[in-house]
Symmetry: C2
Amino acid sequence: MTVGTIAAVRYEARVEITHLPGIADPQGATIERSLPALGYRNVSQVSVGKSIRLVVEAADEDAARSQVDEMCQRLLANPVIEAYEIHLTALASA
Amino acid sequence: MTVGTIAAVRYEARVEITHLPGIADPQGATIERSLPALGYRNVSQVSVGKSIRLVVEAADEDAARSQVDEMCQRLLANPVIEAYEIHLTALASA
């Protein structure tokens, strides 16, 4: 596929959204409290976040990363309380 | 640290929990429908899952993976509607 006259590459993005330090993580705390009752006493630092996967078409990896970052700021994450990491993998070109 | 007489290694586990194929993903569908209104017309296949991070002490990576897998089956995931992937990273030994 082309966007204008520039061949586009498809990238799979995995966005991991976590709580910023100091922001409460009640799901993680609940899991951590439940584990000893199930016999798991060697587990710590449990945190629960979101994992968003999507496919984006872009001219190159920089363009893809920049767009996904903007999407995180505007829609996918709440930058006031959440951090995010973007991991991109090029798919076969479309 | 030792468990019995066996030196334990600390592993950070990242567990990515996704919907099984055919299971509705309303969060992903809502995000995908919202993107064009924000000007993003080159994004598809949006899915939203959970990302759980935790630290587990185990004798070796196989033991750590086996325990985290069991924890997913029993507590972290719902195997009837969810799939999960486990990624382990060894931390400096404790």
